[in-house]
Amino acid sequence: MTANPASTGLSRSLIRDRSWNFFMDVIVFAVLFASVYSIIAVARYWFSAPVAAVQISLSPAALPRYAFYSLVRMIVAYLLSLVFAIGYGYFAAYHRRLEAPMLALLDILQSIPVLSFLPGVMLAMVSLFPSRQLGVEFGSILLIFTGQVWNMAFSFYASLKALPRELMEASRVYRFGRVQRFLQLELPQGAIGLVWNSMVSVAGGWFFLMACEMFVLGKRDFRLPGLGSYLQSAASAGDSTAISWGIAAMIGVVVLIDQLVWRPAIAWSDKFKLEQVDSSSAHSSPVLNLLRKSPLLGRLRAGISTPLMERLYSSSARHAPETKTDLSNPQKLFAVLAGILALLLILLGVFQGLLVLKAITRADIVITLESAGATFLRVVAALVIASAWTIPAGVAIGFNPRLARIAQPLAQIAASVPATALFPVLLLGLISLGGGLNTGSILLMLLGTQWYILFNVIAGAIAIPSEFREVADIFHFSRVERWRTVILPAIFPYLVTGLVTASGGAWNASIVAEYFHFKGQVLSTFGLGAEISSATDAGNFAVLLLSTIVMATLVVSVNRLVWRPLYRRAETRYRLEA
């Protein structure tokens, strides 16, 4: 490009623009280079001989390496979750006969805490790759995966089900092939839901990182190099400097990912909004803008990804056109056989499970049920306490735009910090105050779940039309009247959404909140979460299975009996309609 000498102002701005892009290219290049190096480093580590329990160094200098390993685990687990979620959602949405059982299964899987998957996953992986570190690593990754994937799958399923009919018809009448339909219709439709649920999922992954990287399984001790095990080792050793370094590193990584990945992703996914009118409240991300300007990325796109996509489209176009797919006889036979096989496998699983459960004594059942009651009460207490402060605070923030501008980003950062990282600090405080884990675990649950309620209440308060508040002002409503007739009904749907998420989170958090390795000893309190954790530690599969079944049953039935009716009520009676 030749600069026009007549307009120096213009040419100067051109130069600046160019140097910026060059700068961006350097960064993009550096990122690519670093990724290649990382892949090599990780590969070398994964294929080394297995060391189940690494010695964790508590020196801050080791932190970058640990953070890197944890990050790689999170990324691999997340990518797995994404692929699985899309596949599962797709299948459930389009297979009429399998839809209902697949959804029910999702409901149950969602209610099973991470630790309950631990023994099965870990033992399977270690025996699959007995001579490589890969086995242990992959086990840990699959654990993180089990904590992330279900809500993403559900989100993708729900967006497929919400596809507008006329868009579907357009894609049929214009004879889109399967690839084109997926890339131009289904994936874009699911994008926003996937991005938001990915954020929630990854946050959950950080929350359980400590549990997923370092654990005892019967007589075997598993310890993988990573941030989670660093924090846990520091807590066990009671080394408060190491704890603070660990927390700082974790917060740093989480905030960085938030800025570099999620904010740009949200801004980018704005274009997938299914609206026909331009809305004013668009998200923006400077990082995304810079990426869009990078000439290197542009060239990569033009040179590699565009031609590749063309190949994909044209090959799918060739064998596309849709005709009615009546299952041919061999296909039908195959489906039936697969169904029978699946049924047999399930029966076998149930049978094996029953065999394991034979070891259960009456006393075990009593203890499990009692501990379920104890945890239930804790979850309720956590929800009540959380509501007690987040509802007034959320409404105050929502009603006051200036306060909202300050408080919302702060709360977002606070929420993105995995609460488990703070547990050691809190425990130190609790112990010095003389409180036990009995009430302490409520505090720990709170830490993880109150944000869901707060954010939803803020959103609800912002959505209250100002006319409602003006009515309350004009008729001089008392404070009680104001809350009863205006505020609470108006935020009700949002509150229910927040409470549902928070209650699920609290149940899951109980397994880390009720049982903790600290200063070389085990701190625990009576509860279902502690039951599951200690059963895992002791390798007591019978109790683990029993308590998992109890927890899943409890969570699913609370969902069905309490939250779903409330949800329906929120949708019908308390919806703000134009």
Partner: protein, 444 residues
């Protein structure tokens, strides 16, 4: 007669019910689309026009009968047709250009060919310069232009349009209609026939070489005729008005009148469960007042024009008033009856009484609900009870609308009330002894 492009033979659509009753949406009908014509398909809501369009394009299957494309039966969406949708159905995440390119991509056209053809099409619908805009940045009219461009870029043999102008404002719609005609007359589009579904009578007469009018319950062809007016057509032309008037007559004529069915088998309609027209009580009252102001007699077409209503809005009101015995319809005219005059002149409480009496006399569903409620000692019944009675006769959607209308009428007439949250019908305790000075809040 040339060979038809698409032909429906004894095509019908019905939903099987658990009991022997089946819900007939479209009665068996024959319809052929010939090359060189613009066919407009008119009908009141619930006559199955959109369903028929989807059957003809192969998007949805007929319950019985056959659709032939160039003489051979179709299996799945037709090979070379396009649809312009009422809601535009543009992909919001693709730019204007990408939207138009998408169907070409599906056919495996090379990137260069795609680009050139799409640009040419965008030019011809007047959208040059908008290639990289997203649909949400465009006005409704522009969006529908993109819809046209996308439909025409694949050079379809038959262009289907499903109420293409009804989401647009009057001026934009007029403008787009004339541009469509221009493209067609100047042979700027390779399309051999156009099939337009509409509920706007004037639009049908403005555009159609041939007009097919559907009746409802079940959907069937009431009339099928050619329009011999020269183009461009003038709304003031007496012949134009005559055709519009004729269509109104067909639409307001009671079902099954053989005098007007020029073609198509008048399938004999079994005695059906009487359907409540979807009119609000306030609408009926307002209509009667205006009619009374016009000396009690007026052309339905003129009334629609006067109120700038389309037939979908006006016909249910006319039907409702007729059902209650407040008006009489003949030859496309509505005339107020003495009962109607009494109703318009009465004070509000007396109006309710007149309405109640008329409703109990003429409206089977309301009578049935009231009797059922009275037979219960606590005077209340769940929605499901009536739902089950109705869904023997109507589709799920129609059943819900029937109940909704019944609730509206029943409340106005103070026959019964409904609790939406508990989903129950009930007779309020005080109804029997409402003091005369209490104004019961009603919804119109």
């Amino acid at each position: 007669m040339p060979e038809p492009l698409i032909e429906a033979r004894q095509v019908e659509k019905f939903y099987d019910q658990p009991s022997d009753n089946r819900i007939q949406v479209i009665a068996p009908l024959d319809l052929a689309v010939y090359p060189g014509e613009i066919l407009t398909l008119l009908g009141p809501s619930g006559s199955g026009k959109s369903t028929l369009l989807r059957i003809l394009t192969g998007l949805s299957d007929a319950s019985a009968g056959q659709v032939l494309w160039h003489g051979s039966p179709i299996n799945g969406p037709c090979e070379n047709v396009s649809i312009v949708f009422q809601s535009f159905a543009l992909f919001p995440w693709l730019t204007v250009l990408e939207n138009v390119e998408a169907p070409l991509k599906a056919r495996g056209v090379s990137p260069e060919g795609r680009f050139a053809r799409s640009l040419r099409m965008l030019d011809s619908v007047g959208l040059d310069g908008f290639e990289s805009a997203y649909p949400k940045e465009l006005s409704g009219g522009m969006k529908q232009r993109v819809g046209f461009a996308r439909a025409l870029v694949v050079e379809p043999e038959v262009l289907f349009m499903d109420e293409p102008f009804s989401a647009l404002d009057v001026l934009t719609a007029e403008n787009l209609r004339s541009e469509l005609l221009e493209l067609w007359e100047d042979k700027k589009m390779p399309t051999r026939a156009v099939f337009i579904v509409t509920h706007n009578i004037e639009e049908a007469v403005l555009l159609g070489d041939r007009i097919v009018v559907l009746g409802k319950n079940p959907g069937r062809i009431r009339t099928d005729f050619r329009v011999d007016l020269p183009r461009p057509r003038d709304r003031k032309h007496p012949r134009f008005n005559k055709i519009v008037d004729y269509i109104y007559q067909v639409l307001t004529k009671p079902d099954g009148d053989p005098a007007l069915t020029l073609s198509g088998p008048a399938t004999d309609v079994k005695t059906k469960y009487p359907m409540l027209p979807h009119a609000r009580t306030g609408g009926i009252a307002g209509f009667l007042e205006i009619l009374a102001d016009h000396n009690g007699r007026e052309d339905v077409y003129r009334m629609a024009d006067l109120l700038s209503f389309e037939i979908d809005d006006l016909l249910p009101i006319v039907e409702g008033a007729a059902l209650l015995g407040f008006v009489k319809v003949s030859e496309g005219d509505v005339e107020i009856t003495p009962a109607g005059v009494e109703f318009t002149n009465a004070p509000i409480l007396r109006q309710k009484e007149l309405f109640r009496n008329a409703a109990l006399e003429h409206v089977a569903l309301l009578k049935q609900i009231k009797r059922a409620l009275e037979s219960k000692s606590d005077h209340t019944l769940p929605d499901d009870f009536f739902h089950d009675i109705l869904d023997e006769h109507f589709t799920e959607e129609e059943t819900l609308r029937q109940l909704e209308t019944a609730i509206n009428w029943g409340r106005y007439a103070e026959l019964f009330d409904h609790d939406a949250e508990r989903k129950r019908f009930f007779i309020p305790e005080e109804t029997a002894s409402v003091p005369q000075d209490v104004e019961v809040g009603t919804e119109t």
